[in-house]
Assembly symmetry: C2
Homo-oligomer: 211 residues x 2
Amino acid sequence: MPVISDIYKNFDEKSRRILYNVLSAKTIEYRANQMISYSMGKRNVIGIVETGRARMIRYEYTGERTILDEINEGDIFSDMFVESDFSELSVESITDCTVTFINYEEIIEKSESSRLALQFLNNFVHVINHILTKRNERIELLTTRSIRNKLLAYFELQAKKNNSKTFNLNYSYTDLADYLAVDRSALMRELKNLKEEKFIKDVNKKITLLY
Amino acid sequence: MPVISDIYKNFDEKSRRILYNVLSAKTIEYRANQMISYSMGKRNVIGIVETGRARMIRYEYTGERTILDEINEGDIFSDMFVESDFSELSVESITDCTVTFINYEEIIEKSESSRLALQFLNNFVHVINHILTKRNERIELLTTRSIRNKLLAYFELQAKKNNSKTFNLNYSYTDLADYLAVDRSALMRELKNLKEEKFIKDVNKKITLLY
DNA sequence: GCAATTTTGTTGCATTTGCAACATACAAAC
DNA sequence: GTTTGTATGTTGCAAATGCAACAAAATTGC
């Protein structure tokens, strides 16, 4: 299933190339498990993941790791979204990736004269709105008061998105624990409880809500 | 400290009026504790709170109520930021409010020809980014693994914003507990520990970091 | 195919947190 | 000034969570 990215809405391949030329966009290839560091340090750079998957991760000085976001094909990331001097953020490729970098100011400048640039800016706004929605969801999950509630809230959200009580987890449990900011073993224990109490069924990563 | 709204950056009163005329903006007055319902139902409407304070509230299908955001003078709100079909959102005035409504599509259309509209769109992007940053901060706090760390992270953030190791809390401890999604008494206990271990000083709501 | 690495699954134990129930301080309302 | 209500501060106890350590299963790399 090809990912249709909102950032390219109403763009065909040709106009995309024209636009990228106008905006002096740079496309860079990354291997799996690499640091995507082009944008770091430079302000107002937008990265578009053309192919592949990546993650935004925060490393604590203690060595603790928190997954801040999944970045899939067609998703964008930007230091514009983060208070840069507060925490050590990095974007890491999961698979091989192709990433295009664009300077935001460039888009604004060119939007005055180029209809393509304006269309792209419009798409950008919609994409940020979508990210905002995702952040809101995350906050909802994190503000529930127990691991059980976090798990159930997460599962319900996935069910809603899949329009079905059955869905595949796209996180490993190790990662899910990081995402929900809880201890992995504690998460496993609670997961077991949920299964035993017939709240859910879990046939290797395919979850079914039983209520 | 006056609120400087990014949404009006580079706009004087005159150009703002011109722009609002071009965009067919509508300004509506609300009394305190009223539902600000103009935008509901219509997609892609942006509300700008010119004067007064309001709140964004989510009503659960269970009847549960959650305060999602404080909206102060100069802040904007929009149904664009929310997955509309999942939850029932509403904005309610706290004090008397003046709210200007603009249709986002209108901004895009007019941006092609009007420099003011493009400037406004640019401001809009920066405002959303700022909201995104606030959400990220909240997530940072929520993903730390203990009450102690949540408190310290929160205090450090405030210290940073105030550019000083001493600052006034603008939350009551009761509210702070809700904000950090922890039990209030547990928060008080940890606060006491932090004071006893000389991490912080707390002279009625004036906190000083001692490290 | 085999070795190396990562993820899953489990458990005992210590610590942290939440809950409930107070007393006290403070502020607002009458 | 008294009442009423809300915020602060405290504590014992039960429950939830994190930590550490391990075995088994699955996946990846060569």
